[in-house]
């Protein structure tokens, strides 16, 4: 569905050249749900804008839905749907008018466009608002209208740029429910950008981590977490038995690194364990056998932020502007 070869984009601002995207190779198969994850300014949106022909690549090439983005941008645009960061509906227009015109822009006739608009407005809980002016809609309603606009021509490939930024949790869940249902019904291929790691984690089947314009990881969220981060284990033991435990944990730790912190006659160890939920019981048994029982234990599964931290040495949270 998407194939890029060394796709790059540089910007020149005040005589300074900024390489926003540095030669990325991306392949997306039909039906996939892929998230571009990275901090603001990482190059996610720039990549997306090149794939949707809103921006010309400086070098490299991209084939989207079977067509070259430079040779036939209008052809690519006819085959894809794009839901940008802003609200797509013109403020002074009625919801239904914008929907029907959107269909016509894609070459649908008025009858089909009206039928399709009615169907989408109904399934996105906007049917009662069809004749309302866009400016009078709430933020969540406007975002759902954006989705409806993007789906008017039933694209087989849909791009979403930061679909849920600025939405409250309930509206985010609601939006995702609609997107997932549509995907289940039509097998739509979906590519989205997000800087919400929980969203990338729970919704997408494949995460492409982008930082400083390059792809630094590309896999399922589960594999990324297992391979790159591992579970975080914290155990507390009595200070007297710290020496034995130090040795035991050192051999078990994924990277061999064990942090420790002593206070009030207790030593607290922290380490990364790949497959921690399996290893932890065995570790506890061995500590018990060595006469150094754990006083407390905490096991935290990894997040994509841990993955990002492992890859870049920075936290995604720190990088993300609010």
């Amino acid at each position: 569905m998407i194939h890029t070869n060394k796709l790059s984009r540089t910007f020149v601002a005040r005589k300074e050249t900024v390489e926003a995207v540095k030669g990325v190779d991306i392949d997306v198969a039909p039906g996939e749900l892929v998230a571009f994850l990275g901090p603001n300014g990482a190059g996610k949106s720039t990549t997306l804008r090149m794939l949707t022909t809103l921006l010309k690549p400086t070098s490299g090439s991209a084939t989207v839905a079977g067509l070259d983005v430079v040779a036939d941008p209008a052809g690519v645009r006819a085959r894809i749907g794009y839901i940008g960061q802003g609200n797509g509906g013109g403020h002074s227009y009625r919801v239904i008018d914008e929907m029907v015109m959107q269909g016509r822009f894609y070459g649908m006739n008025t009858t089909d466009a009206k039928a399709r608009a009615d169907e989408l407005l109904k399934s996105l809980d906007l049917a009662d608002l069809a004749k309302r002016t866009v400016i009078k809609l709430s933020g969540g309603q406007r975002r759902r209208m954006d989705v409806a606009l993007g789906l008017m021509h039933s694209p087989r490939l849909l791009f979403l740029d930061e679909p849920s930024t600025g939405m409250d949790p309930q509206n985010r869940a609601n939006l995702w429910e609609h997107i997932m249902r549509m995907r289940a019904e039509h097998g739509t291929t979906i590519v989205l950008t997000t800087h919400y790691m929980d969203e990338a984690d729970s919704m997408s089947e494949r995460v492409i981590v982008i930082d400083h314009g390059t792809i630094i990881a590309d896999n399922t969220p589960a594999r990324l977490k297992a391979d790159l981060a591992g579970d975080l284990l914290a155990v507390e033991v009595a200070a007297a038995s710290a020496a034995e435990v130090r040795g035991l944990l050192g051999r078990a730790a994924a990277e061999g690194e064990v942090e420790e912190h002593a206070y009030d006659g207790v030593v607290r160890f922290r380490l990364r364990l790949s497959n921690g939920s399996r290893l932890a019981p065995e570790l506890l048994r061995r500590m018990h056998d060595a006469g150094a029982p754990a006083q407390s234990l905490e096991l935290k599964p990894p997040t994509l932020d841990d993955v990002f931290l492992e890859l870049t040495g920075r936290s995604l949270r720190e990088g993300a502007e609010v």
Partner: protein, 270 residues
């Protein structure tokens, strides 16, 4: 963009004329939905030229004196100028509506559809021109009792020339809106600064022949001058050299406007 020219890229497939015309119609129709859904705004736009004609016309006649109008009645001389002025004001504002859409995401949403780039500008410019057809005919009819002689086909041809000019000016206005982005004051500043000198130096309001030599020379470099002369000839019921020059000036404006406009769109989305 620097660096891009060095690259060998496959030639971009250009949309055919039928596609562009169809797209122009869609863009035009979307723009027309706003006044159609709110028809009251149209009533005001019809009143405006009447007020201008009714209040400025009489002053003009007595202040300048009939000989300056080349033997025509004041009304016959002034009315085509008012029509050009409405076209000028209307189409030069094409970009201002766009600015609102730049601030939200609706401009980007429309850019992501298969619509051809030139149709985005032409459709919007024609929307600003469309009311002119009604306005022009209306003020012409209203002026008949006061001695204005109406030549309907000539007037219609005059309006079409103004439409061609309007596409060019509208495209330039569109480009200006893209360049000034969300800073509205830049758009209005440039638009107003350019509009009035162009208008005065074209002899719309007062005959340029009454001015000093340098103004007459300056007016020769103003495309609007040829347009106003063409409209005056047509509204007087004649077709001649002035009409041809006006058509030429309008076509050149349209061509320049569209080239500048399409470049601005392509640069802006970069």
């Amino acid at each position: 963009m620097p660096g891009q020219s060095a690259r060998t890229e496959p030639a971009e497939r250009k949309p055919g004329l039928d596609r562009i015309l169809r797209d122009v119609w869609y863009v035009f129709w979307r723009e027309m939905l706003l006044p159609l859904r709110d028809p009251f705004s149209l009533v005001f736009s019809l009143l405006q030229p009447l007020v201008f004609l009714g209040l400025f016309g009489p002053l003009l006649g007595s202040a300048v004196g009939a000989p300056a109008f080349g033997g025509q009645s004041t009304l016959q001389w002034f009315l085509p100028g008012v029509v050009v002025m409405i076209a000028l004001f209307g189409t030069s504002m094409t970009g201002s509506n766009l600015q609102y859409e730049l601030m939200t995401g609706s401009y980007e949403r429309i850019l992501a559809t298969p619509l051809s780039r030139s149709s985005l500008m032409i459709g919007r410019a024609l929307k600003e021109w469309a009311p002119l057809v009604v306005q022009g005919l209306l003020i012409s009819v209203v002026c008949i009792p006061f001695g204005f002689v109406l030549h309907p086909l000539h007037v219609l041809f005059g309006l079409i020339i103004l439409g061609i000019f309007g596409i060019g000016l509208g495209a330039l206005s569109y480009a200006l809106a893209l360049v000034s982005q969300t800073k509205e004051w830049i758009f209005w500043g440039v638009q107003q600064t350019l509009l009035f000198p162009l208008m005065i130096l074209s002899g719309i309001m007062l005959p340029i022949e009454a001015g000093p030599e340098w103004m007459r020379v300056a007016s020769l470099f103003n495309p609007l001058t040829y347009l106003v002369n063409a409209e005056r000839e047509l509204f007087a019921g004649a077709v001649g050299a002035d009409t041809l020059l006006g058509l030429l000036a309008a076509s050149v404006t349209a061509a320049v406007g569209l080239v500048v406009g399409v470049r601005a769109i392509n640069r802006n989305i970069s």
